[in-house]
Each structure stands twice: as C-alpha cells, then as structure tokens.
C-alpha cells in the first residue's frame, strides 16, 4: 500500500504512523542483499519548536494589544486596570502598563519582561480565530485549521524532524493532536526517568546490576527481531500490522533515553511551569526531542477578570522567561523557535461579574530562531475588532486581509521547511495567492 494512502487511512482510524513496513516494501532492507539495515536513527540537533498553549482564552488587551480606559469612569472601557495614556512600549512593541514599576504587587514584571525580550519578539495582533469554542479555538491557534483533522504544528514539525526519536513530540497539554504522524510523549515524575532510561539495570545508577548478561540481552533482542518478522508475515489486518510497527518503532531509539539523564538538572524546579521547560530542554539537548507543547491554564476569566487574568499573564511571562534562561543555560537558545497562543481573546467589555467572556479576536506571540524581533504585525480597533492588513506591506488596509491562524501557520511551516514535505502536503493549508503573507520574510 502506498505510504501516503496509509497515512490518510491511519488518520481516519485514529492510528499513528511509524513503521514503513505496513505500506508494502521494506525501506529498512537493503534492496540488493535483502538484509535488514541497522535502524536509521540519529540524534536531533535541528530547530527546537516550543508551542506554549495559554489555555482558556487570554486577554491580549491586557498584554500585547493594549487598550486602556480613556477616563477612569469610562463605561465602555475595555480595561479598567490602566489608562490608554499609560501604555508603555519596548522598541516597536506596545504593552499594557500592568505589573509596572508603580504596581508593587507585580514588581514591575511586565516592563522587565518586555524590555528583556522585545528584540526577539514578534507580536501578531488582531488575529481572527473565528470561534468562541475552547477546543476549536486552541486547535485553530496551534494547527492553523478551525475544523478537526489536522495535527498540531508541533506534531508536524516532530514528524518531519524525526518521528523515531524516543521523545520526538513531548506534550504537557494543549492542542497536541498528532493525526497519527508521530508518537506523543508525556512526562510524569522525572524521578522515575532514570529507571526508564536504563530498563536493563536493576539499579539505574549501577551498570553492573543488569538483569541479564550482555550475551543473554543480545540473544533476547535477536529473538524479538525474529518474532517481529514472523508477526509481520502472518498478520494481515491493517490495524494489527500498524500496532506491531508502532511497538517496534518505539523501541528503535529507546536507548537514547539514557542521554536525557545527562542533561536533566540535578534538582528540578518545584514550579510546574518551569519543570516543563527543564524537561523539554533536557530532552532536546539530549537529541531525542524535536518539539514540545507546554501549557498553562487559568485564562478563562468569566468573573473577576482583572484579579485573575493579570496575575496569570505574569505567570505566563515568567514561564517564557524561564524557558529562555534555561535554553541559555543549555546552550541552545539560538536554536529555539517559540509560539505563544491561546484559544481566543476576551470580550471588549466586562460582564456583570466583572469578568470577560469569549471573543474570537486574539493575539499570538513568536520568538526566537527565524523570527524577526521587535515587530508588530496586525492590529485591532478600539472595539478589539480585527483590522485588515496588506499582505505584502503589513500596513493596515481596508482592502487587505484578516490575519488568521492559517496565515501564521503557513509562515511557520515555511520557516520549518515543512510546508511542502509529505506531511505538509498531507495536511495542506489553503491560502489563496492574494492572501499569501510571509510573516517572517
């Protein structure tokens, strides 16, 4: 069976795709000798893609698309927490003056953060998610398509980079659908990682404490390989053949998990958001991970918006800052591309509970490798409605286009060099020529 066809069927049936064997033909056998080739596995040192899912629907007008009140008693104020006249900027990027120097509660964090990161930061404002639904919103943001059926960008990137990697696509939550392109990995208590990395040792720290002799281990591996050949020769149902392939493919790079141990910090942070970054970067540094979904929730502030949303945004910024710090520590900051997004935005008015409800216009932030920094593309009006922009000049233009997640993902795919590969073509983003906007040049 043709590989492209199988990917399509596997996705329909909710299956992953890892082994080429089920498609007919065996790319792991030498065509001349018919002998099995060694698994083609190499560690990964390409771009590390980090997708930060701010779950629940953040409020960009309280962050990077600031809209304050005109007067303190303005009944139509989009935000009651600051005045429009107090909006700050770092380079070309405006931001809400929250957590600023005068606000002792946040100790000036927004200002600290924007001043530190603006040069690597691109802000996209007025992004139209076209939905108020949580699932569809975060999906749209993280894959470029509103409807079901597309993998997340992280999964696409990981599949393209190396689906054989033992932790190719690591997920801590958010939209992490793989559509069967790559195995998704979750991380639990990292204290258990040592035993997972050394499954052949009774004590992972003692290389002498093996369960079997080396000869016995090798002999078992040989028997397992023969068994696999037997199973693949007798099993005819596509689902069964696929699952056999998945199991053995999963074992291919499993030795490389040992490297993860080398790069994990001796002491992981007690902060869950920071731990995500530490584990993800250690996995990347070990060469076994190509992309990660990080997630932070709590943005669905239907009540007491200001008291809930703003501290959460501070935590998000802290999370991003820690990610960059850790990347610097690991010496990989120059290889990292970061996307930050959320389900949608918040309404340009408060409800009766001082909260804000769902609003389909939002912002996205990008940072890092390949991303032109100190830049803002897109805009919204005073009612937080999206403004159209010229796809070539990015200038606000009534005759232009609305910026949508699919435009962002088209540019991301191009940046990653995966727009036109077999996976990108399998899940194409339809962008008409007159909407072809190249956000990153």
């Amino acid at each position: 069976m043709d590989r492209r066809k199988f990917i399509s069927l596997a996705a329909f049936a909710g299956l992953g795709v890892a082994s080429p064997r089920v498609f007919g033909g065996d790319p792991n056998r030498d065509v001349l000798t018919g002998k099995r080739k060694e698994p083609l596995f190499a560690t990964y040192d390409g771009t590390f893609y980090v997708m930060i899912n701010a779950l629940g629907g953040w409020d960009p007008t309280s962050l990077c698309d600031p809209k304050g009140y005109k007067t303190p008693d303005d009944p139509e104020a989009l935000n009651r927490s600051y005045a429009t006249s107090d909006i700050l900027s770092a380079g070309n990027i405006n931001y809400a003056p929250l957590g600023n120097a005068v606000d002792e509660g946040y100790d000036g964090y927004y200002q600290t953060w924007f001043e530190k990161h603006y040069q690597r930061l691109m802000v996209l404002n007025g992004v139209d998610t076209a939905t108020n639904g949580h699932d569809s919103g975060i999906r749209h943001c993280m894959c470029g398509r509103l409807a079901e059926g597309f993998p997340s960008f992280g999964a696409l990137a990981a599949a393209s980079a190396g689906k054989e990697l033992p932790m190719s696509y690591l997920s801590f939550g958010g939209y992490d659908e793989t559509m069967g392109l790559v195995a998704r990995t979750r991380s639990g208590n990292t204290n258990a990682l040592a035993r997972i990395a050394y499954p052949d040792r009774s004590d992972p720290n003692n290389e002498e404490s093996v369960f079997h002799s080396q000869a016995a281990s090798d002999r078992i591996a040989q028997a397992q390989a023969e068994r696999r050949e037997h199973l693949e020769s007798v099993e005819n149902l596509p689902r069964t053949r696929h699952m056999i392939g998945m199991l053995y493919a999963a074992r291919t790079g499993s030795n490389e998990l040992k490297k993860l141990q080398e790069y994990l910090p001796d002491m992981l942070s007690g902060n869950g958001n920071e731990r995500q970054a530490q584990v993800a970067l250690a996995a990347y540094k070990a060469g076994i991970c190509a992309s990660v979904n990080m997630s932070i929730g709590g943005f669905d502030t239907h009540g007491n918006h200001d008291q809930s949303q703003i501290p959460r945004l501070v935590q998000l910024l802290q999370m991003i800052d820690f990610l960059w710090q850790e990347a610097e520590n690991q010496g990989v900051a120059d290889k990292m591309t970061v996307l930050v997004g959320s389900d949608f935005g918040r309404t340009p008015r408060y409800n009766d509970g001082n909260g804000k409800d769902h609003w389909s216009v939002t912002s996205m932030m990008l940072m890092g490798k390949g991303i032109p920094g100190n830049k803002v593309i897109g805009a919204s009006d005073d009612g937080h409605n999206p403004k159209k922009i010229n796809p070539s000049t990015f200038a606000v233009d009534e005759g232009g286009i609305r910026l949508e997640p699919r435009h962002v993902h088209k540019s991301l795919r191009r940046l990653a060099g995966i727009d036109d590969n077999e996976y990108g073509r399998q899940f194409p983003l339809a962008i008409p020529d007159d909407e072809d906007i190249r956000l990153f040049g």
Binding site: D2, A10, F12, G14, I220, N236, P238, R251
Partner: protein, 763 residues
C-alpha cells in the same frame, strides 16, 4: 455469528419495479437507483452522497436556529448523529406540500418559481441542485432500500475470528483482569459463541468487573480528580452536610486518616458508583439518569448525613442507595453534586458546559463539532447573539434549553434553585422542541432525565461507551468528504461499525436497557473477535478494514492486572505499595495514563518511553517470578509446571537428553499459551525459536560459569528466599539462590522475551 441473532442485521430490498421506474426518470444525471456498476443506491445513501444540495445549501438557513427556523422545513446538520434518517423523514413529510398551478414547494421555493422564498432565488431549473431535489422527491414517492445494505456476513467473510476459548480469554482479561479458569474454558469449548453468555454474566458479578466499569465511566466523568485527600468533601457546602468531616472525632490518627480517605473516595465516586449500583442490581440502565436516589458507601453516607443499613459498615466498597437530606430531588447523575462540580458553570456559562457534557455522555452528540463553523465577530452585532445570531445559534439552540433544564445547580454543583428564575434572555428550559413545564422548574433536571432516557441516542451512547471501554478505540465519525478517494471505503467501515452499534443499542433497549446485554453482545461481535484476515488485504479494500481488529496497546490499568494474572505477582515495589503503572509518581503518566485532572486523554500508542517501561517490566517480572515459581511444587506453579529448575537439555558431553528437551518444550508450549494466548503445536517454529533462545542463553551461561566470568548465583533480587507477600522466609528446602547451571537465568530470558512480546502488551 456473534450478536443479535434475534434481529436481522441486514435490510432487504423493496420494490424492484421502483428501481426500474427510477432508472428511466433520472438516468441522464446518473442519479439512478443503481449506479452504473449495478450497485443499488438506497434513499439514505442517495441523500448522503448525491442529493448534497440539502446539506450544502438548504440547511444553512433551514435548521432549528437558522433564518428559516420558523418554517416546517428544518434539517439536521451532518454533525448530529442520525441526521440522514431525520432529514429523510423531514423531506418525506414535506414532499407532498405544493402550491396549486405551481408545483411542489420544495422545488418552486428555491427557484422562486411563482412563489416567494425567504432565501431568495438560489438556483434555476437547469441547475444540478434542482435536479438533485427532483430526484430526491421521486425517491420519496418510490423509496429504494437495498438488499443487504449492511451485510456483516459478506464484510467479515475473510476475517478469522477468535474461537470460543480465545474470545473468553480476551473477554476475561478485558472485564475482570484475570485468565479464565479451566472450568470456564470447559463451559465454552466447542459449544458456539453463545455459550459464553452465562460465563460472561458470572464475570459481571465479580468485584473486578465493577472496578473496570468504574474505569470506563471515570474516563468520561473524570471525577477521580477529587479522590485525593478530602478534595471532594472540601467542595461541598458544610452547612448542607453538617457531618461532612465526621471522622475528625476519631482519636486514632491512622484510623481517622483512613476514614477520611474512604469518605472522600465515596463522595468523589458517587456518580461512577451509581453506574456500578445500577448494573450490579440489574436495573434499567436509564436509572443512571432517572434514579431518585444517590449511591453511598458506609463512609460517604456518614459524610452526607444519610442513614443507611449497610451489610458491613466497615466495607468501603459496599454500595447502597439513599437520599440526601432535605427532600433532595434526585435525578441520577444529573443531580450529583460532585459530577456537577467537575463540569462547572459560571454566571455567563449558565450550565452550557454541563449541557455539552450531557449531550456527549448520554446522547452520543459532540456539540462542539457544530462549532467548527467559523464565526465573524464583526457580524455579531445583534443584541443577545446566542438567541438571535446565526453564527451562535447553531450550537446554542441545542445546548441552551438543556442548560436551562439544569438551572437548579449552582456553580458549586449544589442544588440551589435560582430565586429569580431562569435567565429571560436565554431559551426556555427544555430539550429539543419540548419545554419544561413551569410547575416543574424546581425539578427540571428530573424532567430532563426522563426525556433523555426515552431517546434512542441514549442507547447508542451506552453502546459507544462500552465499545471504547472494551476495544480502546473511539467510535468513528461519519466521513463527509465525498472527494476523498477513499471515501467509499471509509464510509463502508463507518456503516458497518455504526450498524453494529445501533443494532446492539436496539437490543439493549428491547431488554429494558440491560447494560449487560451490551457487554455480551459486543464481546461476541466480530469487532471484538476479529483475529486476522485470511489473506493480505488489497489496497482498494484497506479503507474498509482499517478499524477491524482491536490490537489495543494495553492501558496502565489493564496491563497491571494482566501482569499479575499471568505471573502471579503484581508489578510494584512491595506488597503494600501502589502498582508502578498506576502510580502518578512512577509510570502512570509516562505510560499514557490519565490523572482525571489536567491529563484526561489516554495515549493509545506506544512511544519510546512507554516501550522502555514495558521492557523494564519484562525484566523485573522475569527476575521476580522465575525462581519464585520454581520454589513451589510443580502442581502449585503458574509458569513452570512441566520442568524442573535444574533440568538441562544436554549432558556434560553435549549429548542431548530427549526427555528433558521434551519437558522444556512442553513448558515453552504452555508458556506461549499462558502468557500470549497462543495455542501452538510442539513442532511450531515459534516453539523452536523460544527453545533456541533458552538453549543459547543456557549454553553461554554454562560456559561463563565454567570460566568464572559469570556468578553461580542468581542476582540478589531475583532469588527466591522469602514469601514476596509476607516477607517471611521460605522453608530452606524451597529457597533458591544458586543457579549453578544457569538454567534459571535461561528461563528468565524466556520470560523477558514473552513478557515483552507484542501479544502480551496488546489485546
């Protein structure tokens, strides 16, 4: 065949004359009763694939919330289960409406041919859309149903099914996490698949089945989020339940902690326990919604202040029905406080989230699939868009009435009827086109429960839940991209699965919503029993069979039970610790499990970490169990009943010892069946391979011991010197520490090989 033998599983042809009339009327459009290849096209299939104008054009306005909502012509969107049947009925009902001297309304309206149409002129009489409507109306007058439209016999003709014993083994592991007994095997051997019924029924009386049942429904309800500490109790209003923390009065700290834990678990799992109670007592499954009671354990009853006579007041697992104090209006799960808290609401959400979940769990409908239509915020300038704007009403027309019917539960899931009544700017509380009678507002959820219980989709949703529980697969959505080259095959796959589910749903309903009928029928079905295809499946058939065969990579809970069932020992650090695969501090999350909190979706396919965990398990369990099993007398051994621990296949001169070889092979044959479920002849190549593994490891070991490069003793943690469960030393004569001939380590190699096998890790 497996299921529903009381009910025909295929539809039969009607009206050959109608086919002929049809062919003449619309042959030029290719819209005939039969396709060019002679394949019959039923009315349903025609509406789905040919008369697409209804879904592509008409439904845009002609839906329950659209611009034409006040008309009689209301269609369902494709995201709604059963939409084809519903739309066929609607089109059939309206087909005869006509205007004198003009024609049928369904034809003259969209063409504005002598009549006004609110949507304007959409197309003319020469358009393909018009022809589609003509053809559809002709079919209404001359309906076409096709013979053997869903023919299971033909579909599964080349699929090998598990026999009675193999099905029983798989079912036993799936339902109760153990292997069948010899007696159970004998009850079914060679007696036909229906002979499993009494055996399955007996299994469904075991405690372990209810553990599994609880897992199926916790995967939906996710109320295990609150089983830690006193998290569930802390969510309840102490003023409503004064004895919530009754255990605080216990002086012993250890006992107090235990009582607190059990009280909390009973409260957290009250919704899941209701499911268990209904099934255990063979009540109609609809009672999970209509029950005028709640289910308590002896401990949670105390917390809720409910007085019940329990058979064993200290048994945290005993379940009994009772009522919350204060004349609480129970409606099964709908009135469960913890269930409602798990799906919270706010002043602006107004129970819509709960409504969405009710649709999903009990009406087989994912409302959010309706939300995949893009909205434009600049077009939502209406006042109250959820009532008035098409962009919003696509979903809100369905969920808002149900949300209103749940009006009496506040943000903390407590029964608290709103003093000011329901929101006047929302749809009237109700369900579909029915509204809650005003005098029943205080018990609107009870009204809702009854409506749902009467729905066909309740039966369908029950079957879907058990299907996923047994197979690990989500049910398929109907494919709707007719341009997909694999559309026909995918649709066939969907049809077969859908027909199975609906047929079993019908049986379930006929048997007074007997849940066990669903379990039995699914187990006996071809989907559960599909073992292999007799021949390789050709490419052009692959799409049809993509979902056949369960091939489920076992989730943590099921693998945990299988490990103990097969080896006799659990995979955990000590007898009192949590199993490795079930512990959040160990491998549960790594292995694709859920925590019911932030991780709510299982990983069903292995990644590198999961593969390594499985490898570690195979090594550790081989180490723990091999010598221990040998330390027992042969009749008491689970793994090595046919061979002695020191049996060597060759003498010191390298001469084969046939009797020993026979015993080793016999034991390998036994292990292939016991561990992997494979029934093999002694001369099967699989036996030879495993024997070759044993021999090679043994020989290398003997050589190593002779050369003093290997130790003559077993590794410390692989020895059998104490009873693993009690820690007490074994009698000296049974202890095994030495392995001077490397035979035990050779068997450990065999055990690792088998426990890491695809067929052990999957079902």
């Amino acid at each position: 065949m497996g299921w529903s033998h009381t009910k025909p599983r295929t539809k039969h042809v009607v009206g050959k004359l109608a086919l002929t009339a049809f062919a003449g009327a619309s042959m030029s459009l290719g819209l005939a009763a039969c396709e060019g290849n002679g394949k019959c096209v039923s009315n349903a299939e025609f509406l789905r694939t040919k008369a697409t104008v209804f879904q592509e054009r008409c439904v845009t306005c002609h839906n329950s919330s659209g611009a034409a909502k006040e008309t009689k012509f209301i269609l369902e969107r494709s995201a709604v289960p059963g939409y084809i049947d519903a739309n066929l009925r609607t089109i059939g009902d309206l087909a005869s409406y006509y205007k004198e001297d003009a024609g049928k309304l369904l034809l003259i309206k969209p063409t504005q041919d002598g009549v006004d149409h609110g949507g304007g002129k959409l197309f003319d009489k020469k358009s393909k859309e018009y022809e589609q409507i003509v053809a559809m109306l002709e079919r209404v007058d001359n309906p076409v149903e096709c013979e053997d439209e869903v023919n299971f016999g033909e579909y599964f003709a080349d699929v090998e099914l598990l026999d009675e014993e193999a099905t029983l083994r798989k079912a036993s592991l799936a339902l109760v996490g153990r292997l069948p007994t010899q007696d159970e095997y004998e009850q079914v051997r060679g007696l036909g698949i229906d002979s499993l019924d009494p055996v399955l029924d007996a299994m469904m009386e075991e405690d372990r089945f209810f553990t599994r049942l609880g897992e199926w429904y916790n995967d939906l309800f996710l109320t295990d989020r609150y089983v830690g500490g006193t998290e569930a109790l802390d969510l309840l209003y102490a003023e409503n339940y004064p004895s919530l923390y009754w255990f605080d009065a216990t002086s012993s700290e250890a006992l107090r902690d235990q009582q607190a834990r059990w009280s909390n678990i009973g409260a957290a799992r009250s919704a899941v326990n209701l499911v268990k109670y209904v099934v255990d007592n063979d009540l109609p499954f609809t009672e999970v919604l209509t029950a005028d009671y709640m289910v308590f354990t002896p401990y949670s009853a105390k917390s809720f202040g409910v007085s019940i006579d329990f058979d064993d007041p200290e048994d945290p697992n005993e379940l009994k029905a009772g009522k919350l104090p204060g004349d609480y209006p129970h409606a099964g799960i709908l009135s469960d406080p913890i269930w409602n808290i798990r799906f919270p609401t706010t002043d602006t959400n107004r129970n819509r989230h709960r409504a969405r979940m009710i649709y999903r769990f009990f009406l087989a409908t994912d409302i959010l699939r309706l939300a995949e239509r893009p909205i434009d915020p600049t077009n939502i300038a209406d006042h109250n868009p959820t009532m008035n704007n098409e962009n919003c009403t696509a979903c809100h027309a369905a969920i808002d009435p149900m949300a209103g019917a749940m009006m009496n539960f506040d943000s903390m899931g407590q029964y608290s009827p709103p003093e000011d009544g329901w929101y006047p700017d929302m749809r009237v509380p109700g369900f579909k086109d029915l509204t809650v009678p005003f005098d029943q507002f205080a018990t609107a959820h009870q009204w809702l429960a009854q409506q749902i219980a009467d729905e066909e989709l309740f039966s369908v949703s029950t079957v879907q839940t058990v299907f996923t529980g047994l197979t690990g697969q989500a049910v398929m959505y109907e494919p709707n991209d007719t341009n997909d080259p694999d559309y026909t095959g995918k649709h066939k796959a969907f049809e077969i699965q859908d027909a199975l589910i609906k047929d079993i749903a019908a049986s379930f309903a006929e048997e007074k919503s007997n849940f066990k009928v669903v379990v039995r029928e699914l187990i006996k079905s071809e989907f559960f029993r599909a073992k292999n295809a007799r021949d390789p499946i050709p490419d052009d058939k692959a799409a049809e069979y993509i979902s056949v065969g369960t091939a489920q990579f076992l989730p943590p809970e099921q693998l945990t039970r299988k490990i103990e069932a097969v080896t006799g020992y659990p995979w955990r650090q000590s007898p009192t610790s949590t199993d490795y695969l079930l512990s959040g501090n160990e491998y549960r999350i790594f292995f694709g499990g859920i925590d019911s909190d932030s991780i709510t979706e299982r990983i069903r396919e292995p990644n590198g970490i999961m593969a390594n965990i499985a490898t570690r398990m195979s090594n550790e369990m081989a180490c723990r169990t091999t010598a221990r099993d040998f330390s027992n007398e042969p009749p008491d051994r689970l793994l090595f009943p046919f061979v002695e621990p020191d049996a060597q296949p060759e003498d010191d001169n390298g001469n084969a010892i046939p009797a020993v070889i026979d015993a080793i092979k016999a034991n390998i044959q036994y292990l292939h069946f016991h561990v992997l479920g494979e029934k093999l002849e002694l001369d099967d190549p699989q036996i030879d391979r495993t024997y070759a593994l044993f021999i090679d490891v043994w020989k290398d070991g003997k050589t190593g011991i002779a050369a003093e490069t290997y130790d003559g003793n077993l590794p410390g943690n692989c020895r059998a010197t104490n009873d693993w469960w009690t820690g007490n030393p074994l009698p000296e004569e049974r202890q095994i520490s030495a392995d001077p001939d490397y035979t035990i380590r050779a068997w450990m190699g065999v055990m690792t090989y088998l426990l890491s096998d695809y067929r052990f890790l999957h079902e």
